[in-house]
């Protein structure tokens, strides 16, 4: 199977508002794909549709040959996403939360804690492992949200502006981490406004405002 994501004439509307104008795209793994476009062009809606959280109004969308369906365990195993800020446990340290994510995917507890420390180190926040979420800055929280997402296995990763609150060095770090995952065979689709990410992506998909919205 070469094509991982296929959208044909995919569009989303809510009553009279067009959230995503008709869009067609094909994305094959492994690749890092940058989803670009002005605010309101439907980037987040497209990501939500690919994640199975939004039903299309028209057209179709296939992930590995099947529509995204949250009730299908195989789909949940294949697709990870970071679209909204994920909920965090108030009374658990960052390491404990990351370890919980890892054991829920089958790692044993000792390996999960080691893996959690490594993920934090890759994201340059190793020293925060024993802190609680409320002790973090906005940028650190964004890095932790990325760590939670990257702690689970996936074939397809959907990210919505992962560069939020991050400085230039951290954005570069993020790009190299994503490229590492691509090297292991993943398909990553990320909505972004940052030129660094767009320039280093394997493919760029630009969304345009619908004629009706202009």
């Amino acid at each position: 199977m070469t094509a991982s994501v296929i959208c044909r004439g995919l569009g989303v509307s809510a009553e009279e508002a067009v959230l995503l104008p008709e869009t067609s795209l094909t994305a094959e793994k492994p690749a890092l794909i940058a989803l670009t476009g002005a605010n309101g062009t439907g980037k987040t809606t497209l990501l939500k549709t690919l994640a199975g959280r939004q039903l299309p109004s028209i057209g179709e969308c296939l992930i590995n040959g099947r529509p995204p369906y949250e009730f299908d365990p195989a789909f949940r195993a294949a697709a990870a996403s970071l679209i909204d800020t994920p909920p965090m446990a108030r009374d658990m340290t960052l390491c404990e939360q990351l370890a919980l994510v890892r054991v829920s995917w089958g790692e044993d507890e000792a390996a999960a804690f080691t893996g959690a420390e490594q993920t934090l180190e890759q994201l340059t926040i190793a020293e925060l492992g024993e802190r609680f979420p409320y002790e973090l800055s906005a940028g650190q929280l964004q890095l932790f949200a990325l760590a939670l997402t990257l702690s689970r296995p996936f074939e397809l990763l959907l990210l919505d502006e992962p560069e939020r609150h991050l400085d230039t060095d951290r954005v570069q770090r993020l790009i190299s981490l994503l490229q590492q995952r691509v090297a292991f065979g993943a398909l990553i689709i990320t909505a972004t406004h940052r030129a660094e990410i767009i320039s280093q992506a394997d493919q760029q998909i630009a969304l345009n405002r619908s004629p009706a919205a202009e």
Partner: protein, 526 residues
């Protein structure tokens, strides 16, 4: 690779070891508190109530004539449970666990089954506990023996489990299916008031037979249907596997935030979380067309139609509250009897609370009233005109819904209520609206002076009481108005005077809190 069960156990192990585990102190303290309150407060009070209760009145409560009312109340509870599930169902995990575990490939049924069954059992136990307290008092009067007490408590447990299962349905079903189920149950309940056979078709309607001293088989039927429901949830994979993660996560987040707000005393912010979001409708309806005096009515109507579920909630809660108040009203004033207090006070208070909650979505337009007052002073509009515009919708709709609920009770065959009782109910509705107005006008921040200690003789500090009064002022005003009607042995004219004064005082106080006087006019050139 470990099995889904092992993965789940390991994840829960980490969570229970860190965040989710109640400490030994929590557990023992909770048990101590429950035991202490039961032994030293609930049992003595219930014993005294049972001793005080007039046996003739107790017998009257358990006569076959009361069976339709019991069944109708249970049907109302069933519909309420169904709708409660839409807002907060029994499937509940902490937001972090819900997000993490529902995103894995572990079957959802495996993740959600244990918390769901625990919640269902807890609701059943809470229902049994509450029922046991009330039934204990009735049993002391000798209307039935202790065997019947045991049967009724068992029926309450099974009925509580059924209510929790209905809440699960409310959480699981689509909105259309939920509306259909609510209409079918309500219709069965309404028909049960007329045709006794229909009572067997209502959820927990069989308990009515048990209440009036019939055979014991309804307990077995209740237990069997409750057990069947629990088994179906566990056995049908789709029951929990097809529960949308977003719904569970939204409810988990909301209840978690509401708990946090409540723990810091921000009840208004906690309630705000449960307001329904407006739908995209009527964007092109001109709000300035037609008579200016009706513009507020038109705006409020459009706002209400944009949140149809809130409007539906008001359409259910206000008539239900009015019906309960009308049932309680005949005991007020001249026909007042001590023993009837045990029935009329809970009925009246429940009616007042339902009425107050129901008027919430009808008086949404008052949220903007303070801004309109400010704008009136700035731009030279009439502030009294702004008030008049915004009064129309809440007053009209509350009046119509209250009259509908009260009239429903009056026309019931064998009802003790006459046409003067709806007048009482309308007066209480006016008090509830006045309380709403006061709540909308006052600041949402607790005044600093409320935090200062208020020490009375005996070195008792009442500052916490002041804060509680501030937080629950709307309900307190409404319930006080109802208690004034139900409890005080006054003549109707005096009661009208008391209620009128209460409403007037609350309205003037609310108005004064906005900082805008009735006489405020346009700024004049100096």
């Amino acid at each position: 690779m470990s099995t889904p069960a092992q993965r789940l156990k390991a994840a829960r192990g980490i969570h229970l070891g860190r965040e989710g585990a109640p400490t030994a102190g929590d557990r023992w303290f909770s048990l101590y508190l429950i035991g202490f309150v039961t032994a030293f407060y609930i049992l003595p009070v219930v014993y005294v109530v049972g001793d005080f209760l007039d046996p003739d009145f107790a017998l009257q409560l358990t006569q076959p004539q009361s069976e339709p009312v019991i069944t109708a109340a249970l049907t109302l509870l069933a519909v309420a449970a169904l709708w409660t599930g839409r807002i907060q169902g029994p499937v509940l995990l902490t937001p972090f666990l819900a997000h993490t575990l529902l995103g894995t490939d572990i079957p959802r049924r495996r993740v959600l089954l244990l918390p769901t069954l625990k919640a269902v059992a807890c609701v059943g136990m809470a229902a049994a506990g509450l029922a046991a307290v009330g039934l204990f008092a009735l049993t002391l009067t000798g209307v039935w023996d202790w065997d019947r007490f045991g049967l009724l408590v068992a029926a309450a447990f099974a009925g509580g489990v059924q209510l929790a299962l209905l809440a699960f349905l409310g959480q699981r079903l689509s909105l259309r299916a939920l509306l259909f189920s609510a209409v079918v149950i309500s219709a069965a309940g309404a028909l049960g008031l007329v045709f006794s056979e229909m009572r067997l078709a209502t959820p927990a309607g069989w308990s009515g037979l048990l209440w009036t001293g019939g055979a014991a088989w309804p307990v077995a039927a209740l237990a069997l249907t409750a057990a069947a429901g629990v088994i179906l949830i566990a056995a049908i994979p789709a029951a929990l596997d097809r529960l949308p993660a977003a719904r569970v996560l939204n409810q988990s987040r909301r209840i978690s935030e509401a708990r946090l707000f409540t723990s810091t005393g921000s009840i208004n912010d906690a309630v705000e979380l449960f307001r329904s979001k407006p739908a995209h409708r009527f964007h092109r309806v001109p709000v300035t067309a037609g008579p200016a005096a009706l513009s507020g009515l038109r705006q409020d109507l459009i706002s209400a139609l944009r949140s149809p579920l809130s409007l539906l909630g008001a359409a259910v809660l206000v008539p239900a509250g009015a019906a309960l108040l009308t049932l309680a009203a005949p005991a007020a004033g001249e026909s007042f009897q001590d023993s009837n207090l045990l029935a009329t006070v809970p009925l009246g208070v429940a009616g007042a609370v339902l009425l107050f909650l129901g008027t919430g979505s009808l008086s949404e337009g008052w949220r903007q009233l303070k801004n309109e007052f400010d704008a009136a002073a700035l731009f030279g509009w009439s502030s009294a005109g702004a008030l008049g515009r915004r009064l129309l919708w809440p007053v009209l709709t509350s009046g119509v819904l209250t009259t509908a609920g009260a009239a429903g009770v009056v026309v019931l065959p064998g009802s003790a209520a006459q046409w003067k009782e709806p007048a009482w109910t309308l007066a209480v509705t006016a008090a509830a609206l006045a309380a709403r107005f006061f709540q909308s006008m006052r600041s949402r921040n607790i005044p600093v002076e409320f935090l200062a200690p208020t020490v009375i003789p005996g070195r008792v500090d009442l500052s916490a009481v002041k804060i509680l009064l501030w937080l629950g002022d709307g309900i307190i005003i409404t319930v006080t108005a109802v208690l004034a009607v139900v409890v005080l042995p006054l003549q109707p004219s005096t009661l009208v005077g008391v209620l009128g004064a209460l409403i007037l005082t609350v309205m003037i106080w609310g108005w004064a809190r906005t900082g805008v006087q009735m006489t405020a006019g346009p700024p004049r050139p100096v």
